[in-house]
Subunit: 463 residues, 2 copies
């Protein structure tokens, strides 16, 4: 054992710090326009993931200064790591030679990612320059759709065959320098390259070296290359997997997903749900320029405006009662708002359940029934509370009755809509996280205004 | 190489299927109340994560039938895996002996998880029965708060010392049977147990066996045991880490987080954001009984009701103008709704940025300025669109002017509120994902109604 005099402090301060600390340090350096040398020195100690996150954490002016400091050896990896929007900002107008340089020594899945950003002519030209095995891999990856698992896999797997000893496998790995830094398992294939199992590195090291691979290999959960990434994310997340082999539909091993790819895939999928539910496009990154943010958020605002006018039109049908009883105009938003919240609570729970693969088959009827009751109980309780407040405020028994009933109706409908809308959308092949919220609010607004003002017309105007 | 005649099919159908398929198969079996034997046979082939997810995917009656079939050897692990609510349902009224049996051969972090559910007397009694090393570990873990990293770590790390060859390390691992299935790295510590580096299993296998540990060890990103789990999730997610050592504040190695713990931690953290933004408590699991769901969602509905009444009160201040111009009541929700959507778009982007550690230092001023402009541009564009529709509908220039101005004001305020509210909440130590949405809607409702009806009072009533 080395008896060096090195204390923990020396090591621990050398360690990469958390992202907030990195961000603040870099902000300080960038504040001085002359300090480009210091910025470069700072980036020198960081890895590709850290630099990628920092690039995404600054507006475009600073982003350019940071990019100029990214060590050449990391540029390709950093670009593969960052979001599409930021990448196309950096790669715009990059000449063929520059793109070619970036793709040297880059793993095929990263090359594919980069080539997705450049125009077709540059793509063609760059593929020509790649070495044969990499070019073959890149062409395979390009064959997959943008949302297919195959597009994101690492096609360069480490395989061993059955029937050999662990000791032999270890030697084989060393001689062929098989594993890359992220590997956790060796794939076991038969002579035709069909996946037959996997051997964990832990077992490779820990078990008796004379034992055969067969004794310790297990059948891992695998993904099929043509699978949709959202579906894959559901499996990866629900099984907490950090490494999976990818096979084609015949069962032949074609690649693997390593832990960083899996973390990125599940994270992006969860992000898409969060953003989708608020009507933000994934391209709308935090530091996007004003114009592109305004533009990308416009679609959702436009859809919302249409539904808001639909709700306004519903209200417009009841002008007669509104002009007679102004208290209705005052209380009207309360009915819509309670329905909106109740519905979106259900929607969120359902969408999360879908993301974990928990909803399917006949349990939808159980859930529908449950939400019906939760809605009615909530509607009755909160309807009563609102009735008390309305009675004290307006001292009009009819208004009190009308609002209590309207809240009961709207909250019940809202909860049932919160589960039926995502189920319907899913059946229609539409992502419920993307459009569920806007449809739901439309329903709760329209039902809320219609039940409240409709009941008022019936019970108050006709009296 | 073994020349067996086994085709891919044989193997691949043996592999665990995706969660949806498992769910549907189990549903079919449970439909027959007599088929308990088949249910047990079905569960026999599954692992703890799969069984845990299935248990969470059924209401309590079916859940009990499933639980009765969980193989004894997996019961402890399954319970540690499932959510607190489901667990306490199963463990309610469990006698001391049953809990003691569950904790046998369970890793300390799982024992700690289980003991968090039972009452203090049972906890004491069970801890007494544990073997010394496990008991010590459990007591250490119990010393951490519920949201501290230390509570979730695996305290049983695999350490080696500097200055020895890879070959020696491999022998040492085999003799002491050091690694568990999820390990990806060996920790390197000095004689006082300070963390000085880590050696990946890949390097351990791949590199020249005569080389010293020192040559291939690297300083990994580590976490501190007292760190908040939300902060930890930010680091793990932004760096795509799937394995980290945990040290105490002095730098001494105290544990490690394996990939499944990391995936669970980051997933739960992302879920908390999604649920929090819709006002759903984490305990409100999909298949919770009606009564507990109704109860757990009540808090948020109550808060929302209070803010809805605040908005109603604001409207009530303008009864004079509303009773004269009923068109205002019709258009009023459009103003509030556009502000609400614009604000929540900003809020979502900001909360995601916070979860990635991208917001801090002086970039908040850049973001504030950006959102101000995005809000003004959106407000001007959509205000103009709304004005056209309103003019065609009501043919009243004053109403048209008032609504255009109100939308401009409300959308600008909404976007600025979408960034300032989460920043303020964070500074006050409150989770913005939890309360940001309700505060934001209150602001956009109040500002929307006030600007619209206030401007109408000024411009229409006074004419």
């Amino acid at each position: 054992m080395a008896e060096t005099d090195v204390t923990d402090q020396t090591y621990l301060t050398d360690s990469p710090s958390d992202t907030q600390t990195l961000l603040l340090s870099l902000q300080k350096l960038l504040a001085d326009p002359e300090a480009q040398g210091e910025v470069c020195a700072f980036l020198d100690g960081l890895n590709d993931t850290e630099i990628a996150l920092l690039l995404e954490s600054f507006p475009s002016t600073e982003r350019e200064r940071i990019w100029q400091c990214v060590p050449q050896s990391l540029q390709g990896e950093v670009l593969a790591e960052i979001g599409e929007e930021v990448r196309s900002g950096i790669m715009a107008d990059m000449p063929v030679e520059a793109v070619t340089n970036l793709t040297q020594n880059l793993p095929p899945e990263d090359v594919t990612e980069l080539l997705g950003t450049v125009n077709p002519e540059i793509k063609e030209a760059v593929i020509e320059t790649l070495d044969t095995p990499v070019r073959d891999y890149v062409e395979t990856l390009q064959g997959y759709g943008e949302n297919q698992v195959g597009r994101f896999m690492d096609p360069d797997t480490a395989n061993v065959k059955q029937g050999v000893s662990l000791e032999t496998v270890q030697r084989y790995v060393r001689i062929n320098q098989l594993l890359d830094a992220e590997s956790q398992e060796l794939m076991v294939t038969d002579k035709d390259n069909y996946l037959v199992g996997a051997l964990s590195l832990v077992d490779l090291v820990k078990q008796n070296q004379e034992a055969l691979v067969d004794e310790y290999m297990h059948m891992p959960t695998y993904l099929v290359d043509t699978m949709d990434t959202h579906e894959a994310a559901t499996i990866l997340r629900s099984k907490e997997l950090s490494f999976v082999p990818v096979v084609n539909e015949a069962g032949i091993l074609v690649g693997q997903l390593n832990s960083s790819e899996i973390m990125a895939l599940t994270r992006d999928d969860a992000d898409a749900t969060l953003l989708g539910m608020s009507g933000v496009k994934e391209e709308d990154e935090l530091f996007a320029p004003i114009r592109s943010s305004a533009k990308s958020r416009g679609v959702w605002l436009g859809i919302n405006l249409a539904t808001a006018f639909l709700a306004a039109w519903v209200i417009g049908q009841f002008e007669a009662v509104l002009s007679q009883v102004v208290a209705l105009a005052v209380l009207m938003p309360v009915v819509a708002s309670m329905g909106g919240i109740a519905g979106s609570q259900t929607l969120t729970v359902v969408i999360r359940g879908m993301a974990m693969g928990q909803i399917g088959g006949n349990n939808r009827w159980w859930l529908m029934n449950k939400e019906l009751w939760v809605g009615m109980i909530g509607g009755a309780v909160w309807g009563a509370v609102v009735a008390v407040v309305a009675q004290i405020w307006f001292e009009n028994a009819m208004i009190t009755l009308v609002i209590a009933l309207a809240i009961l109706i709207n909250m019940t409908v809202a909860n049932v809509a919160g589960i039926s809308i995502p189920l319907l959308l899913k059946r229609m092949g539409i992502d419920p996280a993307l459009s569920g919220a806007v449809i739901l609010t439309t329903v709760t607004d329209v039902v809320g205004f219609m039940s409240f003002l409709g009941l008022a017309t019936l019970l108050i105007l006709s009296v």
